[in-house]
Symmetry: C2
Subunit: 410 residues, 2 copies
């Protein structure tokens, strides 16, 4: 008998009417002969309300007590969904995070360590639908621990892996993973399949469908995910280890990602000698700042070079301050910053085997006179840093050039 | 080092500002050298909101899932109070009901079975203020269980008894136990001491200061209680096993209780033979109806008698139906009911040793031509059933006659 995990987000749990339609979907899966575990978020807005209460209670609050407060939201929806299912004649019960999920690490941002699945396994075999509050577990010292915002996705994947589920279905506000942001390209197309790696790149650069951690976990556990609309009865997107069937034939590029959360810093006239880059980057890393694209270009025979990198836009002034403090040590000429930049990326497993794809990308951008501030590449992604004002144009051009527009799809 | 439990109700926990003033009181007790446990209710209105959600989810909901939902309210306030205390520099942490309180019996209305106090005891000895959500524990099968509405008082007393606290202070909307309802008698006086038995009688007949179960538990555990205002810094009322000091000299009557929740049923012409009363009462008890005052008076030499008793007003029509169904069996002439009755009682440990007190009560009522429908007495209480329209007058007269008015107090 197939075993599936169904995960519902806060919008799907916002109020009894919506909980009732969630229950109807759960019943359908149970009646279709599946063993069903359901992982739920708190009602939309509830976690924000609880976080706000914590902030008011004490500016610097203890994360352990924060966990006690915010974990309550999912407890409520789990109980409500279990009783709604029972009211519809489904054999269901709730299990609490502290009865099942062992978490470790920092309170308020814990990691799932293990899922104690024996009771749950027995319940599932007896035909009981198990309803579990997402986002939480119990720490080594027996206290409530939460997994960080959006942690219900990770709970669902960890529970699915721990209980050896065949699949984990994530019901959400969007009905799947798209080739790009449909607000930028109305002809964006829903993907029927995407690989874990592609999903990580698409999520990491802006497609906020799933918590990135949960995708990484599913990839390690080889657990197929499916992203579906919580509100409409539409096919979703499967997130898988290897593309299969018709998808093996798909365009080499899965999608175009757009990310406005970038700011560029350039140091000119940096001494062109070993260790310079490290001298700049080490203090930034120490300050907890994550750098993304890094370009280091020496001007031949001058002994000096330019160093460019990007940081999240919110960290720009902090990063500038760190570098200014080290001006003497580093010895740069000028410190330039620009927060009107954006990153456009092509993502797809095909990039690995086809260097022509990167070349085509640069051609398309060059045709439109779009200037590149920096470029970075990985096995399945090529990114270019451009002016933010040119981002939408770039995304539309690339989407079309790589054959992703809806009408042109195979 | 004295160990005390402080219990705060929902009104005291309604919002961060109020939680802050609760924290200030807790800090004061901790700084005065006490080991302090705090038991908290949910924010005022929160439990009602959660109960309403359960009702909407399923008309006949599973009490186990109900417990999961409603237990969340106290979890939130416990976490918030712990972090507020920490923010004020007090060493504090929360403990959850499922970490401490073993409960048994019916979900939604469970009883406290035991308090696992080892961790708590250690924390208290180390100077940590322990904050515990009231109203909940964990059942034998490891699931959340709640203690029934108002159960936080019972939690507080059970935890105080389990941890061998010296005292349990109940902070509430009223600032103590009064000689009678101040809305009826503005000159009602706050008692400095009252015995457990008196408190049970005063609570049972209408003085809704404390959950009755919690008083019974404190009496069995010989745990002194104190009722105090959560909002003003006033002396409260001590609830004790034996009156002491100046209170030993107090008037023989502790207070006058008024109860409007009464309805009278009279069966006339009931055969005057053994077993008749049982024949009436047994089916009512089977139907779950609790009878209060029962008067059975035979008219000599007629072979027939009248039977009068009271039931809670909301149960009147159900009780009438049960009796009408048995008319043949019982063989009464007429079935009369009256829901415009009320019960006035004098309560005090002195009644035990002084039969003159009951006599004085009847004198006072007779002077004002107040007709008595029924009378019942216990060791520490004498009650009379009168017309509801005469209740306020009766309470005022008795309050004054027994020397309870504020200006006349010793």
């Amino acid at each position: 008998m197939p075993r599936i995990v169904m995960k519902f987000g806060g919008t799907s749990m916002a109020g009894i009417e919506r909980i009732r339609s969630v229950a109807a979907r759960v019943r359908r899966e149970a009646e279709a002969g599946n063993q069903v575990l359901v992982v739920v978020s708190a009602m939309a807005g509830e976690t924000d309300r609880l976080v706000q209460l914590c902030r008011e209670a004490a500016a610097l609050h203890d994360p352990t007590e924060y966990d006690v407060v915010v974990a309550s939201g999912e407890q409520v929806t789990a109980g409500l969904l279990a009783m709604t299912l029972q009211g519809m004649g489904v054999n269901a019960r709730s299990f609490m995070g502290w009865q099942l999920v062992r978490a470790s690490g920092v309170h308020g941002n814990a990691r799932v360590e293990a899922v104690e699945g024996a009771t749950l396994d027995e319940a599932l075999r007896n035909g009981t639908v198990a309803v579990i509050p997402g986002f939480q577990g119990v720490s080594d010292d027996g206290r409530l621990a939460t997994l960080g915002r959006g942690g219900s996705d990770t709970s669902a994947v960890a529970i699915a892996a721990g209980l050896k589920a065949d699949r984990c279905d994530i019901y959400t506000d969007v009905d799947g993973v798209y080739t790009t942001d449909p607000r930028i390209v109305p002809r964006a197309r829903k993907l029927t399949q995407v690989t874990f790696e592609e999903m990580l790149e698409l999520a990491g650069v802006g497609a906020k469908v799933l918590q990135v951690r949960s995708v990484g976990l599913a990839m390690r556990e080889k657990l197929p995910l499916r992203v579906l609309s919580a509100f409409e009865d539409l096919p979703g997107t499967d997130i898988v280890a290897e593309l299969s069937g018709a998808n093996m034939e798909r365009n080499e590029i899965a999608g175009i990602a757009a990310d406005r959360n970038e700011a560029r810093i350039t140091l000119t006239g940096v001494p062109d000698k070993p260790g310079t880059v490290a001298q700049v980057i080490a203090p930034l890393a120490e300050a907890g700042l994550s750098l993304d694209m890094i370009v280091h270009a020496a001007t031949p025979n001058t002994g000096s070079s330019d160093l460019t990198f990007t940081v999240p836009r919110a960290s720009l002034s902090q990063a500038m301050a760190v570098i200014e403090q080290r001006k003497g040590e580093i010895g740069y000429a000028e410190l330039i910053h620009d927060d009107a930049v954006a990153k456009v990326s092509i993502v797809g497993v095909g990039i690995r085997s086809n260097p022509q794809l990167a070349a085509r990308m640069f051609d398309v951008l060059a045709e439109r006179q779009i200037n590149l501030h920096a470029v970075s590449t990985s096995e399945i992604k090529v990114s270019a840093l451009i002016a933010e004002s040119e981002l939408d144009l770039a995304v539309r051009m690339l989407h079309s050039a790589f054959g992703l527009d809806a009408e042109q799809s195979a």
